[in-house]
Amino acid sequence: MAKLALELAKTSRKVPFDSKADPEIKKNVTQKSKGHSTSEKVQLENNNKTEFLSAPPRSLRKRIIVPTSHCDSESEYSASNSEDDKEVARDDEDDTEAVGLSQKSRVQSRVLPASVSKRTPLKKMKRDKASDLVEEYFEAHSSSKVLTSDRTLQKLKRAKLDQKTLRNLLSKVSPSFSAEIEQLNQQHEKLFHKWMLQLHLGFNIVLYGLGSKRDLLEKFRATMLEDSIHVVINGFFPGITVKSILNSITEDVLNHMGTFQSVLDQRDWIINKFKEDSSLELFLLIHNLDSQMLRGDNSQQILGQLSSLCNVHLLASIDHLHAPLMWDHAKQSLYNWLWYETTTYSPYTEETSYENSLLVKQSGSLPLSSLIHVLRSLTPNARGIFRLLIKFQLDNQDSPSYIGLSFQDFYQQCREAFLVNSDLTLRAQLTEFRDHKLIKTKKGTDGVEYLLIPVDSGTLADFLEKEEEEA
């Protein structure tokens, strides 16, 4: 641990973000190395490598990966490269001549010890030339093997946090630059009137830019849409589908109780309805139109067709880097977008909370609460049946070959506990559970039905505990 701390202290100086003088140093480092002959370059490279070897923990940082192939190829092509480099270096010198030699010499003295542990100068140098970006890309993708450290999160003490603790921890952080962010938001809020105007005139509005636009849209909803029918759609909600959007329009907005053969039928019906009745007006607010669930071609087509109606007004936000690729020309003309940049820098709290994020442990608080909710609505007998199943599953949780409780055994147990009187009643109960996705049935190799609760044992134990507390 102490070693690690020392390590951190040492590296904190090296990171380029902390020192104001750093950029110029780096620039000069690159310049210097550019001027160097190739042999020196290779030597430098070797220095790098030895340094990395001597400090194994640090070598985990990525740039250290410096693939050996990388420098090999570098020296191979150095003959042609060095010329280019010199040219670039000369250009750079022209630029920086005014800066003066004094700085250079000052830097040189400082650079020598630093240069060894600095980012690999080769890399930096490459970035000078835009065309090399392409090469860089292929370089990184050509070698099938990527060299990164083998450290895993398990060895770290704080590996994964669950959603709740994450939220608690983050609430302690005071947001930085709140004044500036507030200012940004105010700028955006000034546009509300204009948005309303443009929506009414047949345009649709799409918001892009870094930061969650949820609060902004909520505010828009609260201030401008009080008196009009509107539907808010959380695109980031994992269960959202076009069908559910259309359903809420037909059922809740248009008060239609019938069903439809297909989504397309439903779309046509809605379109006709809106065309017939020009007094109808509907605002659609879609958070994250580019979410996983809505980005499909069909969904976009249907939403586009809806938004092309003159009395449906769409205000949507997109976040994904490649979101505009969803739309071809035909869809874009359906949407009739006006783009607005609304960079807010607000954290994507709500948007990422559903996601199975990389580092967030599945806490199971969601299944737990839903378990409790469902079970509460059942008869005491049904609860008893379910509890039996839970107990059996928990008893067997350690056996790897456990595939579930067979129906016959279960029926026996339930009978003994006076919970059911015939296997029909039990089956009726099981159907109920199955509808709520509380149990899964599987046919074993012997053709017998096995019952399993698809919830992890920790949650089940929690649930039992709570049940007993209440009882």
Partner: protein
């Protein structure tokens, strides 16, 4: 918040019905908070009227442009169908009948405009040829069953629209059974039952048959699956003798696609004729010509804005509709941003409105840069009056607006003349299209540009017949204008024309004189020959200027040059030009041609751009360690290659972040570490949401990087 839930994603809000009645009129949203909302209501009304006018104008234009195409299409349909009618006596034996008449409509890549064309095509055909028109899209027809289903249901609808409801109740077949057989038998009964009735009903249409053809329009034929098309064509060719089908393919690419989609066996069943629609570039030229290069609409667009619009058109989509959308947006923005746009209407109306301008609006006029420049040029007494007395100002404004109107009328006439002159020059120094010339003229004095000088030089070398045809065109342009502003100019052009005609007679004599003057070369030595040749060259150069034609040509060019210099002044030189010119090109670009990726990259890479905090100011390529977490995480991830180890990343992140907070307390508590880790998790999941990284199974606790290069 009311709109977040773990169980649903759609939230419907319906206000009370009584409450909803008091909805806000649109004009109220027109108020611009930045400006004092002067005349906002009037401005909105003006916008609305003007837009309606421009819109109907464009629609009319489009109709006219499509007319040729539609006429030839209708001809084709009638001709091919009359074959069917004629042969109706001996159907079965005619092999030719197997061929389905097909019109391949080549519409160009601007798919967005196609809908409009198809809509008006359907309308025209319905009025002129047949009530049975079905248009199908590839999206609705994944297989032949759906294809037939869609076809049948649309056909029945056409029928019901035209006739009474009772037909429908009798004829609707069972939903499950869609086949070509049932379709053709349905057609026979319907046609027989209603054929005669219809001829009586619709006397106006020229051609009515007992068996009107069934026209199927396949929009965007490329997107249909090959199998569906092939099957349908084969099936329907079998039924051709009882079901007079005609196909219309909408093609965006090239006619070759038909043969790529359909094998020979199938395409031989079609009798294809090609129809080419007007190219979108010509279309644009016409629209520009009628909407912007005319004094008919008071609204004008500055050079930058026009360039943004044409660039979007030329480099992005070739879509007329999008261009018109851009025009609509610029009109809206103009009226929204410019309080004086109240005066951007027809001249008599504007004069009326000037009388009722408020004090604030008068101030607005005085604040216009162009007006200030104008005032500075006036005598001092008038300057004071203009700046202090509102009535004087209003009178002057009236005059200026009138001048502006006249300026525009002359401007476009002269512009067209100049275009006539320059559009035939080799290499087109001033552009081939009039819009290019217009852009150059809008920018600054066109006669100062190099291109103009070279154009004049080329003009001085034109042959007589070319020059005459140009002059003739100019005369037509000038003559067509109803105003008398350029009356003398028209006369002068006419004079030039007659002079050229007279030249014919004169030149004969001159040639004779010339011929007598030049003596045959005598036999001499080399030295003398050279000398005499040089002399002759000298002579020719001097005499050349003296031919009458050349003098006249010089005159014409000079005359043109004078016209340009006096009438094609850039609009910025005109007082009050701000009233009618929309110049905020950047808003157009922002809203029509946005660059979300760049915005995202800038926000992550250079937070100072958005958050104006001095602490965030940094040099190129580096960001300070107090920047928002996501920026730091982004910056660190940029240094990585394809895969990123989460542990290393988090450590690097922690290092940077602790360095920022270190000065406050030197020891880092465990809780601090936890919080930093939490911040890292948040930053990483946000980057995942933004699409920069994704989880990967290649290695434990690694993520894959998804972007490369700057962004």
């Amino acid at each position: 918040m009311a709109t977040s839930s773990v169980s649903k994603g759609c939230f419907v809000f319906k206000p009370d019905f009584k409450k909803r009645k008091i909805s806000v009129p649109i004009e109220d949203y027109f108020k611009n908070e930045k400006l004092e909302s002067e005349d906002s209501k009037l401005r909105f009304e003006t916008y609305h009227l003007l837009w309606q006018r421009m819109k109907s104008e464009t629609e009319q234009l489009q109709e006219e442009l499509n007319k040729n195409l539609f006429d030839s299409l209708i001809d084709f349909l009638q001709k091919s169908h009359s074959d069917f009618q004629k042969n109706s006596g001996n159907w079965g034996c005619q092999m030719k009948l197997r061929e389905i008449p097909t019109a391949a409509l080549i519409l160009g890549v601007n798919v967005t405009d196609h809908d409009l064309i198809f809509r008006s095509l359907t309308e025209t055909l319905q009025n002129n040829v047949t009530p049975y028109i079905v248009s199908l899209q590839a999206k609705d027809c994944p297989d032949v069953k759906h294809f037939l289903q869609k076809l049948t249901s649309q056909l029945m609808d056409c029928c019901v629209d035209g006739k009474s409801k009772e037909v429908k109740s009798v004829k609707t077949p069972k939903k499950t059974n869609y086949s070509m057989d049932s379709l053709s038998s349905w057609y026979m009964t319907v046609a027989q039952a209603t054929g005669p009735k219809m001829t009586i009903k619709k006397r106006t249409t020229s051609s009515q048959w007992q068996f009107p053809p069934v026209v199927i329009i396949l929009k965007n034929m490329e997107s249909f699956s090959t199998k569906v098309l092939q099957d349908f064509i084969i099936i329907s060719s079998q039924h051709r003798h009882e079901f007079p089908l005609i196909l219309i393919f909408g093609i965006a690419t090239s006619p070759v696609i038909i043969h790529r989609l359909l094998p020979h066996a199938v395409s031989s069943l079609l009798c294809i004729e090609l129809f080419q629609s007007l190219s979108c570039k010509e279309h644009l030229a016409v629209i520009l010509d009628q909407l912007l290069l005319t004094a008919q609409f008071p609204f004008k667009i500055s050079k930058k804005a026009l360039q943004v619009l044409t660039n979007i058109f030329l480099y992005h989509d070739f879509s007329i509709q999008n261009f018109i959308k851009g025009l609509k947006l610029s009109l809206l923005e103009h009226f929204y941003l410019q309080p004086l746009s109240v005066l951007c209407c027809d001249l008599p109306e504007a004069k009326k409105r000037i009388k009722f301008l408020s004090v604030n609006q008068c101030e607005n006029i005085r604040r216009l840069p162009s007006f200030r420049r104008y005032v500075e040029k006036q005598a001092s007494g008038k300057q004071v009056a203009l700046l202090t007395n509102d009535t004087v100002l209003k009178e002057e404004t009236q005059l200026l607006l009138e001048d502006l109107h006249v300026y525009h009328m002359n401007y476009f006439l002269v512009l067209r003349c100049l275009h006539n002159f320059t559009s035939c020059l080799p290499k087109y120094p001033l552009g081939r299209q009039i819009r290019e010339l217009y852009c150059t003229c809008l920018e600054n004095n066109v006669w100062d540009s190099e291109e103009y000088a070279s154009a004049l030089q080329l003009l001085r070398m034109l042959a007589k017949d070319e020059l005459m045809s140009i002059l003739q065109k100019c005369f037509e342009v000038l003559h067509s204008s109803t105003t008398k502003q350029l009356g003398s100019t028209t006369q002068k052009v006419k004079d030039f024309l007659t002079q050229f005609q007279n030249l014919d007679a004169d030149s004969k004599e001159e040639e004779d004189a010339c011929g007598s003057q030049s003596k045959g070369l005598q036999k001499t030595d080399l030295y003398h020959l050279q000398k005499s040749l040089l002399e002759m060259k000298e002579l020719r150069r001097t005499t050349k200027k003296q031919t009458k034609f050349e003098m006249l040509r010089e005159n014409v060019v000079n005359f043109m040059d004078n016209l340009v210099r006096s009438y094609l002044l850039p609009p910025e030189s005109q007082p009050l030009h701000e009233v009618v010119y929309f110049s905020a090109a950047h808003t157009l670009r922002e809203h029509l041609n946005a660059a979300p990726r760049i915005a995202l990259h800038t926000a992550l890479n250079n937070p100072y751009y958005y958050l104006k905090n001095e602490a965030l100011k940094s040099e190129e390529g580096c960001i300070p360690n107090i920047a928002p977490d996501i920026c730091i995480a982004y910056k660190l991830h940029l240094e990585c290659s394809r895969l990123i180890n989460l542990v290393d990343w988090s450590e690097a992140f922690a290092t940077v972040v602790t360095a920022a907070e270190k000065d406050a307390n030197s020891t880092i508590s465990e809780e601090m570490n936890e919080i930093i880790h939490a911040r890292f998790i948040r930053a990483v999941s946000e980057l995942e949401l933004l699409g920069f990284i994704k989880p990967t199974k290649q290695k434990t606790d690694h993520v894959a990087r998804l972007t490369w290069g700057g962004c």
